[in-house]
Symmetry: C3
Protein backbone atom coordinates (compact mmCIF):
# COMPACT_ATOMS: atom_id res chain seq x y z
CA UNK A 1 0.00 0.00 0.00
CA UNK A 2 1.61 3.25 -1.21
CA UNK A 3 0.29 6.69 -0.37
CA UNK A 4 1.41 10.21 -1.23
CA UNK A 5 0.81 13.60 0.31
CA UNK A 6 2.14 16.74 1.91
CA UNK A 7 4.45 16.23 4.86
CA UNK A 8 3.37 17.10 8.37
CA UNK A 9 5.46 16.95 11.53
CA UNK A 10 3.89 16.98 14.98
CA UNK A 11 5.72 17.41 18.30
CA UNK A 12 4.54 16.94 21.86
CA UNK A 13 6.31 16.70 25.21
CA UNK A 14 4.92 14.98 28.29
CA UNK A 15 6.34 15.34 31.80
CA UNK A 16 6.14 12.60 34.42
CA UNK A 17 6.82 12.95 38.12
CA UNK A 18 6.46 9.48 39.60
CA UNK A 19 5.80 8.90 43.29
CA UNK A 20 7.95 5.80 43.32
CA UNK A 21 11.59 5.54 42.32
CA UNK A 22 10.75 2.80 39.80
CA UNK A 23 7.49 2.61 37.94
CA UNK A 24 5.89 1.36 34.72
CA UNK A 25 3.22 3.77 33.45
CA UNK A 26 0.99 2.82 30.54
CA UNK A 27 0.95 5.70 28.02
CA UNK A 28 -0.71 4.06 25.00
CA UNK A 29 -3.71 6.40 25.25
CA UNK A 30 -1.53 9.51 25.46
CA UNK A 31 0.36 8.48 22.31
CA UNK A 32 -2.90 7.62 20.52
CA UNK A 33 -4.21 11.08 21.40
CA UNK A 34 -1.05 12.67 19.99
CA UNK A 35 -1.57 10.78 16.73
CA UNK A 36 -5.17 12.07 16.56
CA UNK A 37 -4.10 15.66 17.26
CA UNK A 38 -1.42 15.43 14.57
CA UNK A 39 -4.03 14.62 11.89
CA UNK A 40 -1.30 12.49 10.29
CA UNK A 41 -2.77 9.49 8.45
CA UNK A 42 0.38 7.58 7.41
CA UNK A 43 3.82 7.87 8.96
CA UNK A 44 6.15 7.13 11.83
CA UNK A 45 5.77 8.08 15.49
CA UNK A 46 8.85 8.34 17.71
CA UNK A 47 8.31 8.07 21.47
CA UNK A 48 11.57 8.68 23.31
CA UNK A 49 12.84 9.41 26.78
CA UNK A 50 14.74 12.70 27.12
CA UNK A 51 16.64 11.32 30.13
CA UNK A 52 19.34 8.72 30.70
CA UNK A 53 17.51 6.90 33.47
CA UNK A 54 14.08 6.17 31.98
CA UNK A 55 12.89 4.37 28.87
CA UNK A 56 9.93 3.78 26.59
CA UNK A 57 9.10 0.12 26.12
CA UNK A 58 6.41 -1.93 24.41
CA UNK A 59 5.04 -4.79 26.49
CA UNK A 60 1.95 -6.50 27.80
CA UNK A 61 -0.20 -4.77 30.43
CA UNK A 62 -0.04 -7.74 32.81
CA UNK A 63 0.89 -7.22 36.45
CA UNK A 64 2.70 -10.57 36.89
CA UNK A 65 4.84 -9.90 33.83
CA UNK A 66 5.66 -6.43 35.13
CA UNK A 67 6.95 -7.99 38.35
CA UNK A 68 9.04 -10.43 36.28
CA UNK A 69 10.45 -7.49 34.28
CA UNK A 70 11.44 -5.59 37.43
CA UNK A 71 13.13 -8.65 38.98
CA UNK A 72 14.94 -9.33 35.71
CA UNK A 73 16.10 -5.70 35.37
CA UNK A 74 17.39 -5.78 38.92
CA UNK A 75 19.28 -9.00 38.24
CA UNK A 76 20.92 -7.79 35.00
CA UNK A 77 21.50 -4.17 36.04
CA UNK A 78 21.45 -4.25 39.84
CA UNK A 79 21.47 -1.35 42.25
CA UNK A 80 24.89 -1.29 43.94
CA UNK A 81 26.69 1.31 46.02
CA UNK A 82 30.10 0.90 44.45
CA UNK A 83 29.54 2.09 40.87
CA UNK A 84 32.23 4.55 39.79
CA UNK A 85 29.50 6.97 38.66
CA UNK A 86 28.60 7.35 42.34
CA UNK A 87 31.91 9.10 43.04
CA UNK A 88 30.24 12.17 41.46
CA UNK A 89 27.63 12.12 44.25
CA UNK A 90 25.01 10.31 42.13
CA UNK A 91 23.42 7.05 43.25
CA UNK A 92 21.64 6.02 40.05
CA UNK A 93 24.20 4.18 37.88
CA UNK A 94 21.91 1.14 37.86
CA UNK A 95 19.18 3.32 36.29
CA UNK A 96 21.58 4.28 33.46
CA UNK A 97 22.34 0.60 32.84
CA UNK A 98 18.64 -0.37 32.92
CA UNK A 99 18.01 2.36 30.31
CA UNK A 100 20.77 0.94 28.09
CA UNK A 101 19.43 -2.59 28.54
CA UNK A 102 15.87 -1.94 27.34
CA UNK A 103 16.66 1.02 25.02
CA UNK A 104 15.35 4.55 25.46
CA UNK A 105 12.77 4.68 22.69
CA UNK A 106 10.39 3.06 20.25
CA UNK A 107 9.18 4.11 16.83
CA UNK A 108 5.69 3.09 15.81
CA UNK A 109 3.83 3.04 12.52
CA UNK A 110 0.83 5.30 12.01
CA UNK A 111 -1.66 3.72 9.57
CA UNK A 112 -5.12 4.99 8.57
CA UNK A 113 -4.74 7.79 11.09
CA UNK A 114 -4.15 5.39 13.97
CA UNK A 115 -1.26 4.02 15.96
CA UNK A 116 -0.57 0.67 14.28
CA UNK A 117 0.10 -1.60 17.28
CA UNK A 118 -0.19 -5.37 17.58
CA UNK A 119 -3.11 -6.72 19.62
CA UNK A 120 -1.20 -6.98 22.89
CA UNK A 121 1.29 -4.17 22.40
CA UNK A 122 0.98 -1.43 25.01
CA UNK A 123 3.40 1.50 25.36
CA UNK A 124 4.96 2.09 28.77
CA UNK A 125 7.02 4.86 30.28
CA UNK A 126 9.60 2.97 32.37
CA UNK A 127 10.99 5.09 35.20
CA UNK A 128 14.21 3.85 36.82
CA UNK A 129 15.04 6.91 38.93
CA UNK A 130 11.90 8.91 39.58
CA UNK A 131 10.42 11.30 42.12
CA UNK A 132 11.41 14.28 39.98
CA UNK A 133 10.00 15.80 36.76
CA UNK A 134 11.13 13.90 33.67
CA UNK A 135 10.20 14.50 30.05
CA UNK A 136 9.48 12.37 27.01
CA UNK A 137 9.07 13.54 23.42
CA UNK A 138 6.55 12.33 20.86
CA UNK A 139 7.48 13.27 17.29
CA UNK A 140 5.31 12.16 14.39
CA UNK A 141 6.20 12.59 10.73
CA UNK A 142 3.93 11.63 7.87
CA UNK A 143 1.24 12.66 5.45
CA UNK B 1 23.71 14.92 0.22
CA UNK B 2 20.33 16.67 0.40
CA UNK B 3 17.34 15.70 -1.69
CA UNK B 4 13.79 17.01 -1.97
CA UNK B 5 10.53 15.55 -3.24
CA UNK B 6 6.97 14.52 -2.61
CA UNK B 7 6.41 12.28 0.38
CA UNK B 8 5.43 8.66 -0.06
CA UNK B 9 4.55 6.18 2.65
CA UNK B 10 4.53 2.44 2.02
CA UNK B 11 3.14 -0.25 4.36
CA UNK B 12 3.46 -4.01 4.26
CA UNK B 13 2.73 -6.79 6.75
CA UNK B 14 4.36 -10.22 6.74
CA UNK B 15 3.13 -13.20 8.78
CA UNK B 16 5.47 -15.93 10.06
CA UNK B 17 4.42 -19.28 11.45
CA UNK B 18 7.62 -21.00 12.56
CA UNK B 19 7.87 -24.76 13.00
CA UNK B 20 10.19 -24.38 15.96
CA UNK B 21 9.50 -22.46 19.16
CA UNK B 22 12.69 -20.41 18.66
CA UNK B 23 14.07 -19.49 15.27
CA UNK B 24 16.12 -16.88 13.44
CA UNK B 25 14.78 -16.24 9.92
CA UNK B 26 16.72 -14.08 7.48
CA UNK B 27 14.34 -11.50 5.95
CA UNK B 28 16.77 -9.14 4.22
CA UNK B 29 15.39 -10.04 0.78
CA UNK B 30 11.79 -9.49 1.85
CA UNK B 31 12.64 -6.03 3.16
CA UNK B 32 14.63 -5.21 0.01
CA UNK B 33 11.62 -6.21 -2.08
CA UNK B 34 9.37 -3.94 0.01
CA UNK B 35 11.76 -1.04 -0.64
CA UNK B 36 11.60 -1.76 -4.39
CA UNK B 37 7.80 -1.94 -4.38
CA UNK B 38 7.59 1.34 -2.49
CA UNK B 39 9.49 3.18 -5.26
CA UNK B 40 10.91 5.33 -2.46
CA UNK B 41 14.41 6.55 -3.28
CA UNK B 42 15.46 8.29 -0.04
CA UNK B 43 13.98 7.71 3.38
CA UNK B 44 13.62 5.53 6.46
CA UNK B 45 12.34 1.96 6.68
CA UNK B 46 10.93 0.66 9.95
CA UNK B 47 10.83 -3.11 10.43
CA UNK B 48 9.07 -4.01 13.66
CA UNK B 49 7.54 -6.97 15.42
CA UNK B 50 3.83 -6.61 16.20
CA UNK B 51 4.17 -9.06 19.09
CA UNK B 52 5.79 -9.04 22.54
CA UNK B 53 7.68 -12.30 22.08
CA UNK B 54 9.55 -11.81 18.81
CA UNK B 55 12.02 -9.22 17.54
CA UNK B 56 13.74 -7.84 14.47
CA UNK B 57 17.52 -7.79 14.74
CA UNK B 58 20.48 -6.99 12.50
CA UNK B 59 23.29 -9.52 12.63
CA UNK B 60 25.65 -11.70 10.64
CA UNK B 61 24.28 -14.71 8.74
CA UNK B 62 26.73 -17.12 10.39
CA UNK B 63 25.47 -20.34 11.95
CA UNK B 64 28.04 -20.46 14.77
CA UNK B 65 27.22 -16.91 15.81
CA UNK B 66 23.51 -17.75 15.79
CA UNK B 67 24.18 -20.60 18.22
CA UNK B 68 26.17 -18.18 20.40
CA UNK B 69 23.25 -15.73 20.31
CA UNK B 70 20.73 -18.39 21.39
CA UNK B 71 22.94 -19.58 24.25
CA UNK B 72 23.50 -16.00 25.35
CA UNK B 73 19.77 -15.16 25.20
CA UNK B 74 18.99 -18.26 27.25
CA UNK B 75 21.59 -17.24 29.83
CA UNK B 76 20.41 -13.64 30.20
CA UNK B 77 16.67 -14.29 29.85
CA UNK B 78 16.24 -17.97 30.72
CA UNK B 79 13.17 -20.13 30.39
CA UNK B 80 11.91 -20.83 33.91
CA UNK B 81 8.64 -22.23 35.24
CA UNK B 82 8.25 -19.82 38.13
CA UNK B 83 7.75 -16.48 36.41
CA UNK B 84 4.79 -14.59 37.84
CA UNK B 85 3.44 -14.10 34.32
CA UNK B 86 2.85 -17.87 34.24
CA UNK B 87 0.14 -17.57 36.91
CA UNK B 88 -2.07 -16.33 34.03
CA UNK B 89 -1.65 -19.70 32.29
CA UNK B 90 1.10 -18.45 29.96
CA UNK B 91 4.51 -20.14 29.79
CA UNK B 92 6.43 -17.58 27.72
CA UNK B 93 7.71 -14.90 30.12
CA UNK B 94 11.27 -15.65 28.96
CA UNK B 95 10.21 -14.75 25.40
CA UNK B 96 8.98 -11.34 26.64
CA UNK B 97 12.32 -10.74 28.35
CA UNK B 98 14.30 -11.85 25.28
CA UNK B 99 12.26 -9.35 23.22
CA UNK B 100 13.09 -6.56 25.69
CA UNK B 101 16.76 -7.54 25.67
CA UNK B 102 17.35 -7.28 21.90
CA UNK B 103 14.61 -4.68 21.16
CA UNK B 104 11.60 -5.28 18.95
CA UNK B 105 12.59 -3.29 15.88
CA UNK B 106 15.13 -1.66 13.63
CA UNK B 107 14.94 1.37 11.37
CA UNK B 108 17.05 1.36 8.23
CA UNK B 109 18.09 4.04 5.77
CA UNK B 110 16.89 3.86 2.17
CA UNK B 111 19.43 5.45 -0.19
CA UNK B 112 19.35 5.57 -4.00
CA UNK B 113 16.26 3.38 -3.96
CA UNK B 114 17.98 0.64 -1.97
CA UNK B 115 18.17 -0.59 1.59
CA UNK B 116 21.37 1.03 2.88
CA UNK B 117 22.92 -1.80 4.92
CA UNK B 118 26.54 -2.37 5.90
CA UNK B 119 28.42 -5.18 4.14
CA UNK B 120 27.67 -7.84 6.74
CA UNK B 121 24.34 -6.56 8.01
CA UNK B 122 21.48 -8.99 7.49
CA UNK B 123 17.97 -8.52 8.89
CA UNK B 124 16.49 -11.37 10.94
CA UNK B 125 13.09 -12.13 12.33
CA UNK B 126 13.84 -13.55 15.80
CA UNK B 127 11.06 -15.78 17.07
CA UNK B 128 11.09 -16.55 20.80
CA UNK B 129 7.66 -18.21 21.11
CA UNK B 130 6.59 -19.56 17.73
CA UNK B 131 4.41 -22.28 16.23
CA UNK B 132 1.60 -19.77 15.67
CA UNK B 133 0.99 -16.97 13.16
CA UNK B 134 2.86 -13.79 14.07
CA UNK B 135 3.05 -10.53 12.16
CA UNK B 136 5.68 -7.90 11.46
CA UNK B 137 5.17 -4.50 9.87
CA UNK B 138 7.39 -2.77 7.32
CA UNK B 139 6.70 0.96 7.05
CA UNK B 140 8.76 3.12 4.70
CA UNK B 141 8.59 6.91 4.53
CA UNK B 142 10.55 9.00 2.06
CA UNK B 143 10.65 10.66 -1.32
CA UNK C 1 2.70 21.77 17.44
CA UNK C 2 1.98 20.80 13.81
CA UNK C 3 4.05 21.96 10.87
CA UNK C 4 3.89 21.36 7.13
CA UNK C 5 6.37 21.65 4.30
CA UNK C 6 8.30 20.05 1.48
CA UNK C 7 10.19 16.89 2.37
CA UNK C 8 13.96 16.88 2.51
CA UNK C 9 16.21 13.91 3.11
CA UNK C 10 19.85 14.29 4.12
CA UNK C 11 22.49 11.54 4.25
CA UNK C 12 25.97 11.50 5.70
CA UNK C 13 28.47 8.76 6.48
CA UNK C 14 31.25 9.01 9.05
CA UNK C 15 34.17 6.58 9.35
CA UNK C 16 35.91 5.80 12.64
CA UNK C 17 39.20 3.99 13.08
CA UNK C 18 39.74 3.70 16.82
CA UNK C 19 43.16 3.14 18.35
CA UNK C 20 41.74 0.92 21.05
CA UNK C 21 39.70 -2.24 20.57
CA UNK C 22 36.91 -0.79 22.73
CA UNK C 23 36.08 2.89 22.91
CA UNK C 24 33.26 5.34 23.56
CA UNK C 25 33.51 8.40 21.29
CA UNK C 26 31.22 11.37 21.81
CA UNK C 27 29.68 12.36 18.47
CA UNK C 28 26.96 14.78 19.53
CA UNK C 29 28.69 17.68 17.74
CA UNK C 30 29.07 15.72 14.50
CA UNK C 31 25.36 14.87 14.50
CA UNK C 32 24.43 18.48 15.34
CA UNK C 33 26.54 19.64 12.40
CA UNK C 34 24.76 17.16 10.11
CA UNK C 35 21.40 18.57 11.23
CA UNK C 36 22.64 22.11 10.43
CA UNK C 37 23.90 21.08 6.99
CA UNK C 38 20.60 19.38 6.22
CA UNK C 39 18.68 22.65 6.73
CA UNK C 40 15.86 20.44 8.02
CA UNK C 41 13.79 22.24 10.67
CA UNK C 42 11.41 19.49 11.85
CA UNK C 43 11.93 15.76 11.48
CA UNK C 44 13.69 12.60 12.55
CA UNK C 45 17.41 11.86 12.56
CA UNK C 46 18.62 8.26 12.42
CA UNK C 47 22.16 7.57 13.64
CA UNK C 48 23.09 3.94 13.06
CA UNK C 49 26.10 1.68 13.01
CA UNK C 50 26.73 -0.04 9.66
CA UNK C 51 28.58 -2.87 11.45
CA UNK C 52 27.62 -5.74 13.73
CA UNK C 53 30.23 -4.98 16.38
CA UNK C 54 29.65 -1.31 17.19
CA UNK C 55 26.65 0.70 18.35
CA UNK C 56 25.25 4.19 18.76
CA UNK C 57 24.08 4.93 22.29
CA UNK C 58 22.75 7.91 24.23
CA UNK C 59 24.32 8.40 27.64
CA UNK C 60 25.96 10.83 30.01
CA UNK C 61 29.47 12.14 29.25
CA UNK C 62 30.82 11.08 32.65
CA UNK C 63 34.03 9.08 32.88
CA UNK C 64 33.02 7.04 35.96
CA UNK C 65 29.76 6.01 34.33
CA UNK C 66 31.64 5.00 31.17
CA UNK C 67 33.81 2.68 33.26
CA UNK C 68 30.66 1.24 34.85
CA UNK C 69 29.20 0.69 31.37
CA UNK C 70 32.31 -1.16 30.14
CA UNK C 71 32.41 -3.39 33.23
CA UNK C 72 28.71 -4.11 32.86
CA UNK C 73 29.02 -4.92 29.14
CA UNK C 74 31.91 -7.27 29.90
CA UNK C 75 29.85 -9.01 32.58
CA UNK C 76 26.74 -9.48 30.44
CA UNK C 77 28.48 -10.18 27.12
CA UNK C 78 31.97 -11.33 28.10
CA UNK C 79 34.95 -11.93 25.87
CA UNK C 80 35.52 -15.69 25.76
CA UNK C 81 37.59 -17.92 23.52
CA UNK C 82 35.07 -20.69 23.07
CA UNK C 83 32.27 -18.98 21.16
CA UNK C 84 31.15 -21.07 18.18
CA UNK C 85 31.54 -17.99 15.94
CA UNK C 86 35.29 -18.27 16.58
CA UNK C 87 35.45 -21.55 14.62
CA UNK C 88 35.28 -19.29 11.52
CA UNK C 89 38.59 -17.68 12.55
CA UNK C 90 36.94 -14.64 14.14
CA UNK C 91 37.55 -13.65 17.78
CA UNK C 92 34.84 -11.02 18.24
CA UNK C 93 31.62 -12.85 19.15
CA UNK C 94 31.46 -10.83 22.37
CA UNK C 95 31.37 -7.64 20.27
CA UNK C 96 28.34 -8.97 18.36
CA UNK C 97 26.57 -9.70 21.66
CA UNK C 98 27.46 -6.28 23.08
CA UNK C 99 25.97 -4.70 19.94
CA UNK C 100 22.75 -6.70 20.41
CA UNK C 101 22.62 -5.75 24.10
CA UNK C 102 22.71 -1.96 23.67
CA UNK C 103 21.14 -1.84 20.15
CA UNK C 104 22.86 -0.54 17.03
CA UNK C 105 21.10 2.77 16.60
CA UNK C 106 19.11 5.71 17.90
CA UNK C 107 16.59 7.99 16.24
CA UNK C 108 16.41 11.56 17.44
CA UNK C 109 13.91 14.36 16.97
CA UNK C 110 14.90 17.50 15.07
CA UNK C 111 12.97 20.53 16.35
CA UNK C 112 13.40 24.19 15.34
CA UNK C 113 16.37 23.20 13.19
CA UNK C 114 18.18 21.59 16.12
CA UNK C 115 18.82 18.15 17.52
CA UNK C 116 16.18 17.85 20.24
CA UNK C 117 18.14 16.16 23.05
CA UNK C 118 17.50 16.14 26.78
CA UNK C 119 19.86 18.19 28.96
CA UNK C 120 22.24 15.33 29.73
CA UNK C 121 21.81 13.29 26.58
CA UNK C 122 25.02 12.90 24.59
CA UNK C 123 25.41 10.65 21.54
CA UNK C 124 28.26 8.13 21.57
CA UNK C 125 29.79 5.85 18.99
CA UNK C 126 30.45 2.64 20.96
CA UNK C 127 33.22 0.55 19.40
CA UNK C 128 33.45 -3.07 20.56
CA UNK C 129 35.96 -4.37 17.99
CA UNK C 130 37.99 -1.48 16.63
CA UNK C 131 41.39 -0.75 15.14
CA UNK C 132 39.92 -0.84 11.63
CA UNK C 133 37.79 1.57 9.60
CA UNK C 134 34.11 1.38 10.53
CA UNK C 135 31.22 3.43 9.23
CA UNK C 136 28.06 4.96 10.66
CA UNK C 137 25.19 6.53 8.75
CA UNK C 138 23.24 9.67 9.63
CA UNK C 139 19.94 9.95 7.77
CA UNK C 140 17.62 12.87 8.42
CA UNK C 141 14.10 13.20 7.04
CA UNK C 142 11.89 16.20 7.60
CA UNK C 143 10.70 19.57 6.39
Amino acid sequence: MLQEGKTKVYTQYITFNTKKKRELIRITDKVKKAVEKSSIKEGLCLVSSMHLTSSIIIQDDEEGLHQDIWEWLEQLAPFKNNYKHHLTGEDNADAHLKNLLVHLQVILPVTNGQLDLGTWQEIFYAEFDGRRPKKIVIKIIGI
